[in-house]
């Protein structure tokens, strides 16, 4: 039995910041991750920008950042959460600076670039394409120095532990031994990131199968805005690159502009070689070109930096140019192919500004939270969200823990079950299905087809059971499939119910944005059934 005042599930930026903030507020913290601490998840993969109104490149105020966030969110942001992100962002960025992250600087001040959707230069970064790894490393070093934070990796939380309707910790399984590990906690923070692994083409890690949404939902919490999955428009498509994140062209476009071209080598967005288009609009423009037969050979668009000299490329991206050369790519000579890729989830667990869910003693933070980014996230808001929401969740969870008695022990017994199908193959089929029918462009017929498959999968993963002793790779896949199936159902049902098009949710059969739909949909489990409240 592990025990803590505050249990934090997930060790990306939100989880680690929550752990630091909770310990600072006097709590004994247990920080767990299904992967290694501070290495799995999405944070480590972030390439460049962090949006924050520090006003070092030009005058700025968090209210301007908020206005841009609300505008990008297409009328659907939870304004209080958006405000928290924008208002608290600068303090977190400064704190990370004090902790030695090494934000890029120019003439002695923080360098800030202009990202699409922002009204000015607002995004800080770490060179070269190193923002995510630097964030992870800085926070990892920080939590390692705090004795009150006990870190345990290779631990998969399978369910939240509940008593009298409140969360009292979690049930976990130790990956390498298969041991059952009960965890007692006075307050619990879900910081498990998003759900982009549901899609065949994604920029996520394998940990992003929506675990936190499934855990919270089964514990009785509400989810919100689940239909809004952000597709990053210019994910790398071809030629095959290794050792590079598929969203790497984002920083290239920030620094160098670049031209997005169709098969006729014509720009199809009104950009004039600059990086201007919001993510949802660029995604649909590329899909439209492909649909009209003007796509690149692999079904995307061309992205060209042929206007840049070798010296300019090297000045902007240093060693990254050598990594591209090792992959056989010379940007001065040829364009690359790009296409939309599942990147981030705007929806998630519904919380108040104290990061409290509707379940007592259960908090959420980071991408696991829904609402701050509405129907479309502004570039650079994800890491800021992780910092600000993580810090807030850690502080509030610690405060609650300070006035909560130690929950009694709980036990959880599962028996082993035979897995008589290949769960890895089922995950791959589900990902292909989601990409085809629940991707950026949706129709009633497609969503119903997806739901039929998702429903048929339910009996296969109704029960998880216990793993076999030692590392049980099939059990891990079954665990993931079970959560991914449930979360896929939430996305598809919410998408089917929303009969309009808005931001990241586009219905070919309902192309207009409807005033009546300027509202959130929430999801609860009613027994085994996913219930959408429109």
């Amino acid at each position: 039995m592990l025990q803590a005042d505050v249990l934090v599930i997930g060790s990306g930026a939100a989880g680690m910041y929550a752990a630091i903030a909770a310990a600072r507020a006097g709590a004994k913290v247990l920080l767990v991750d299904r992967s290694l601490i501070g290495r799995g998840g999405a944070t480590v993969m972030a390439q460049m920008t962090v949006a924050v109104a520090v006003g070092e490149e030009e005058p700025d105020h968090w209210e301007h950042h908020l206005a841009d966030t609300l505008k990008a969110g297409r009328g659907l942001c939870d304004q209080e959460l958006s405000q928290l992100l924008c208002e608290q962002g600068p303090a977190c960025i400064r704190e990370m600076d004090e902790w030695g992250i090494g934000w890029a600087r120019r003439d002695g001040h923080l360098a800030q670039v202009h990202a699409p959707g922002h009204d000015r230069k607002r995004c800080v970064y770490v060179d070269f394409l190193n923002t995510g790894p630097a964030v992870s490393k800085t926070l990892r070093a920080r939590v390692q120095r705090i004795p009150e934070v006990h870190r345990v990796g290779d631990l998969i939380v399978t369910e939240l532990a509940m008593r009298d309707g409140a969360c009292i910790g979690a049930h976990a399984v130790h990956v390498s031994t298969g041991a059952s590990v009960p965890i007692a906690a006075k307050a619990t923070v879900v910081a498990t990131g998003g759900l982009t692994r549901l899609y065949a083409r994604n920029s996520a890690s394998v940990n992003m199968g929506g675990d936190g949404y499934a855990l919270a939902l089964r514990a009785g919490a509400e989810l919100v805005d689940m239909e809004f999955v952000q597709f990053f428009p210019i994910g790398h498509l071809a030629p095959r690159l290794v050792g590079m994140d598929p969203i790497m062209w984002d920083p290239f476009r920030y620094k160098l502009g670049g031209r997005l071209l169709n098969s006729e080598m014509k720009e199809f967005l009104p950009e004039g070689g600059r990086y201007l288009s919001a993510r949802d609009l660029a995604t649909y423009a590329i899909l439209e070109e492909v649909g009209a037969g003007r796509g690149s050979p692999h079904g995307g668009a061309w992205l060209s930096f042929q206007h840049c000299s070798e010296a300019a490329l090297r000045d902007a991206f240093g060693p990254v140019i050598d990594r591209l050369a090792a992959n056989g790519i010379d940007l001065t000579r040829e364009p690359v192919e790009v296409a939309p890729i599942a990147h981030y989830h705007m929806g998630g667990v519904r919380v108040d500004t104290g990061m409290r869910t509707s379940v007592p003693h259960l908090f959420a933070a980071g991408e696991a939270v829904g609402g701050a980014n509405g129907a479309n996230r502004l570039s650079g808001n994800a890491i800021t969200e992780a910092f600000t929401f993580g810090r807030r969740a850690g502080e509030r969870a610690a405060a609650l823990a300070a006035r909560t008695a130690v929950p009694g022990k709980h036990i959880h017994t599962d028996i082993q079950r035979e897995i008589d199908f290949n769960p890895a193959a089922e995950i791959a089929s589900l990902q292909a299905l989601m990409k085809t029918y629940v991707g950026p462009l949706r129709t009633r017929a497609g969503l119903e087809k997806a739901l039929a498959h998702i429903d048929a999968l339910a009996p296969h993963c109704a029960e998880l059971g216990a793993p076999r002793p030692g590392l049980d790779a099939e059990w891990i896949d079954l665990h993931d499939l079970r959560n991914m199936r449930l979360v896929a159902e939430c996305v598809a049902r919410a998408a089917l119910a929303r009969e309009e098009s808005r931001g990241a949710h586009q219905r070919a059969d309902f192309p207009e944005t409807g005033d009546a739909w300027q509202k959130h949909q929430t999801i609860r489990l009613a027994g085994e059934r996913v219930h959408v409240e429109s």
């Binding site: 992967s35 290694l36 601490i37 290495r39 799995g40 998840g41 480590v44 993969m45 995510g132 790894p133 870190r151 345990v152 990796g153 290779d154 631990l155 130790h174 390498s176 031994t177 041991a179 590990v181 996520a204 890690s205 394998v206 940990n207 030629p239 095959r240 690159l241 290794v242 050792g243 590079m244 994140d245 598929p246 290949n422 769960p423 890895a424 193959a425 995950i427 791959a428 030692g470 590392l471 790779a473 099939e474 896949d477």
Partner: protein
């Protein structure tokens, strides 16, 4: 369609078992990696094959380190070749199963077993 094929000899087994090599013929397209090949095996042949990775392709998580033909490499950045390739777990780390070894820092392990 691709006709390239790699022959992966993969060391299988858990502590206390007699280790063995299993051979898999893996189709691939130019540019694909050893990790792509291992993921293909799990989906198409044997889901019990244990490998450790998180970020898939970005070489950001640094979790997929194994031995390929006697050299320590990242599976996600090593390209498949039309040849026999021998895949083994790291020799200097405690074996967990197949290609997975204990690489977590000692104070981040459940057992804290050093």
């Amino acid at each position: 369609m691709s006709t390239l094929k790699a022959n992966l000899r993969v060391r299988r087994g858990a502590p206390g078992e007699t280790g063995r090599f299993a051979s898999y013929e893996v189709p691939f397209e130019p540019g694909q990696t050893v990790l792509d090949g291992l993921r293909w095996i799990r989906v198409h042949v044997d889901p019990s094959l244990a490998i450790r990775f998180s970020c898939i392709n970005a070489n950001a998580c640094k979790e997929c380190m194994i031995r390929v033909d006697g050299k320590t490499v990242y599976a996600c950045t090593t390209r498949l070749a039309q040849a026999e390739m021998t895949l083994e777990p790291l020799p200097n780390k405690r074996l967990i199963r197949d290609l997975v070894t204990e690489i977590a820092p000692p104070d981040e392990r459940l057992e804290r077993d050093g």
